[in-house]
Each structure stands twice: as C-alpha cells, then as structure tokens.
C-alpha cells in the first residue's frame, strides 16, 4: 500500500488545470510558456505524488510546484536564450476580437495587470484570484508578509489610475 496521497494527485490534478494555467500565464505573460509550465508542473507533480500529504490542499501544493518550476527552469531558460522579451500590453488580453462589450473593462484591467511588475502580478493573482491569505502568499513567494501588502497596495493604486488615464 502507498502511504500517501499518490492517487489523490492523479485523480484530482485535472480539477486544477485551469487555475494552474492562469497562474502560469500571469507569471510568464506568454500563452505558449504557460502551457509548457502547466505540463512541467503535471510531470513534476506526478513524479512527486508520493510526497503529497493527504488532507492538505492539492491546489496549494500544485501552485508551489509550478512556482518552483517557473523560478528554477523556465525563467532561467528564457533568460539564457534571450527569449524573455514580452509584449506586456497584449499578453494577458483575451484571444481575438471576441470580447463582448461587457468584457472591455476586464480586458483593460488584464492589460494593466500585465504591465505590473512580476512581484505585484504574482501577489494579485494569488490573493485576489485564488484566495490566498497574505501569509500563505508570502510563504509561497518567499517574501515577508509586509511585502505582499505593499505589492497589493501598489497594484491597487496602479489599477485605480486606469480611470485617470
């Protein structure tokens, strides 16, 4: 018998693909990289499924893996190959011209989020989209809680400025 939540990971991984992809997109601001990142996260999660502790939150575990893969592998590879240039203006905007009029504000907000510095984007995604407590976000990102607060405050200020433009 397996001692841990190995099968939990296999069985429930599919429930988290969309939120993993969204996190990956917010980190990388590239749709192709985001898909690679989700795939790498799935590979790593399946390799390490025995380490997942039953009764803890699978989504939090997967997010930590994705963030670690991003930091250690994908980003360094992009830096090495000089492929890190991103058109932040468009990276987070919806595909194509399908956005209904009601989505225009959302598209503007996403575009503005896409222009935020890395640390602010991460904090915004974790706290405002995924419901992380400040302390949880701080742990995942490896920064003090006060840094999460100031990043979120700066992001809010920047987005409030959309109306001034």
């Amino acid at each position: 018998m397996r001692p841990s939540g190995h099968d939990d990971v296999r069985d429930a991984l599919g429930d988290h693909l969309v939120s993993l992809w969204r996190f990956a997109l917010v980190l990388s601001r590239r749709r192709d990289t985001a898909e690679d990142l989700v795939q790498a996260t799935c590979v790593r999660a399946l390799e390490r499924a025995d380490q997942f502790q039953r009764g803890t939150r699978l989504d939090r575990w997967l997010f930590a893996i994705l963030h670690s893969v991003w930091l250690n592998e994908v980003r360094s590879r992009r830096v090495r190959t000089g492929a890190g240039t991103v058109d932040a203006e468009i990276a987070l905007v919806f595909d194509g011209g399908e956005a209904a009029e009601t989505n225009i504000l959302a598209a503007q907000v996403l575009s503005a989020i896409g222009r935020l510095p890395d640390g602010q984007r991460e904090a915004v995604l974790l706290v405002y989209a995924e419901g992380y407590a400040y302390r949880e976000a701080a742990t995942l990102l490896g920064v003090p809680v006060g840094t999460i607060m100031s990043r979120l405050a700066a992001a809010r200020e920047r987005l409030a400025g959309l109306k001034d433009e």
Partner: protein, 284 residues
C-alpha cells in the same frame, strides 16, 4: 495578527488600508485604523481609491480563467497520466525528457486545433513501434490493419482513457474523423451502450484513413471501434477473431473495414457491433 511583527507605525498607510480592505488586520489594528479614518479625510479618500482599484481585479482574472485552453490541457494531462502509470516512475529520467532540452526547443507545443496531440503522438509512437517490430520479425508477411490496430491497442489502459473529452473536443474529433473517412459520425451514432465515449483519433494505415473511437467499458476496460477506408470491394458479415490476445469482431461494408477490439468477451463485442453496424457511419 496577520500582518506580522511589524509595528503598526512602520507600515505605510496604503499597505495598511489594503490589508484592511482584504480583511487581513486583526481586531486591534482594525479598530485603530477605523478611528484614524474617522478623523482623517485624506486617509478615507485613499481608502476609497484603493478600493476602486481593487474591485475589477477578481472579475477580470475570473474571465482570464475562462480563456484557458482547457481541452488542450486535459489532453496533455491524459497523455502524462498514460505515460506515468500508477507505479513508481523514474523521476530523473522523466524530468530530463522535458527540461534537458537545449535552448529554445520546447517539449510540447500546441500547433493544431485538434487537441489530443500528445495522445496522438503517444499512440502513433506505439503504432510505429509495433509496426517496426512486426516488420522486423515478419518481413515477408503483409501487415493487416487488424493486426496493426491490435499491436498499438496494447498500449491503451483504462488510465489512458481516464479523462472524457469535453463536448467541444469530442465534436471536433468526430468532425475531423468524418471528413477524413467521408462518413458521417455523429455523437449519437457512435454511442456504445453503457461504455462511455473516450475520444476519436485519426490515423493513417498504408495511406488509408483509419479512425479509432475509444470507449471505456465499465466492466471490461478499453474497447476501440475502428473504421478504415480501404476500398475493399467485397462485403463481409461480422466475424470474430482473437488477435494479440484481444477479442476482435470485424466486418467489411461498402468500401470500409470496421472492427471492435478489447478484452471484453466476444459476445459483448458482437452485441456492440450489432448496434454500431446499425448506427455508425452507414449509408455514406
């Protein structure tokens, strides 16, 4: 408190206001800030501005999630689950495959609208492997499509078929298969009783289009219904066979060869054949 060990006076007002908006202040911090808000109109104005800035974030990110390439992600996961069975996997080897790649070479890149590329690649790899083996062993014997299917069907497990395609993906797969075969394949026509549909893949065998429709039988595991446009002139009624340890029922009709293959008893496949013969892609 949540905000940590910083003395309150050390925290910039914007951060404090943000923490208040996010419900991250403990009771004493909250009361202190609320007292200041009553006394300091400028601070209250800052609060309002930060609140406005934060309001559209969650809805916008929710919409972003809605634009995820979910079908492709699911197909990718199905491929990974198939490639990493429930038994232990060789972690180092698996990682090297994806990240030891030099430079900008990407491990996996979506290029087509049809989503199950990884699955296709895996199974197609299986076909190639099977064919290579067979040709090496029996160079003189002509490969039959029944044998070729049986060779690669060995690679399919219940886990390969663990994920059901979304309705959109299923419709796209059937559309592609119908077009390639020149046969109408509708979701209704390919229903196989209580064995749920698990996707349709298009292959080629000796230049002829070959479609494999997969089902996951609750009792007997994976079953495939395969159709090849082989142009054979002679019709034949369903016959049973055992190939590579699988039960097989196959028949030929109007230029199309059809087969059912699985580890189910032959009688189960014959019953399915009766149904599919009546419904699936007839009368083209």
């Amino acid at each position: 408190m949540t905000v940590g060990s910083m003395a309150e006076s050390d925290i910039p007002d914007d951060a404090l206001l943000t923490a208040w908006l996010d419900g991250e202040l403990d009771a004493s911090e909250r009361l202190a800030l609320e007292a200041r808000l009553r006394r300091e109109p400028l601070l209250a104005a800052r609060l309002e501005r930060l609140q406005e800035g934060g309001e559209p974030i969650a809805p916008a990110l929710a919409m972003l999630g809605g634009s995820a390439p979910e079908a492709r992600l699911r197909a990718m996961l199905a491929g990974r689950l198939a490639a990493q069975p429930r038994a232990r996997v060789d972690a180092a080897k698996s990682r090297r495959r994806w990240f030891g790649l030099p430079g900008p070479v990407q491990p996996w890149r979506p290029v087509a609208a049809l989503a199950s590329l990884v699955l296709v690649a895996l199974v197609a790899g299986g076909i190639g492997y099977g064919l290579a083996l067979r040709h090496a062993e029996m160079p003189a014997e002509r490969e039959t499509w029944l044998q070729a299917v049986a060779e690669y069907w060995r690679f399919t497990t219940a886990e390969t078929l663990a994920l059901a395609p979304s309705a959109d993906l299923a419709a796209s797969q059937l559309q592609l298969a119908s077009t390639a075969l020149g046969l109408p394949l509708t979701p209704d026509a390919i229903v196989a009783g209580d064995a749920p549909f698990r996707g349709a893949q298009l292959y080629g065998f000796e230049g002829k289009p070959l479609v494999q429709i997969a089902y996951l039988d609750p009792d007997y595991g994976p079953i495939a219904f395969c159709i090849i446009r082989n142009g054979a002139a002679k019709n034949s009624a369903p016959e049973t066979a055992e190939i590579e340890g699988f039960s097989v029922v196959h028949w030929q009709e109007d230029g199309y060869g059809r087969m059912l293959i699985g580890r189910a008893p032959v009688a189960r496949l014959e019953a399915l054949a009766g149904r599919l013969k009546a419904e699936a892609g007839q009368g083209a």
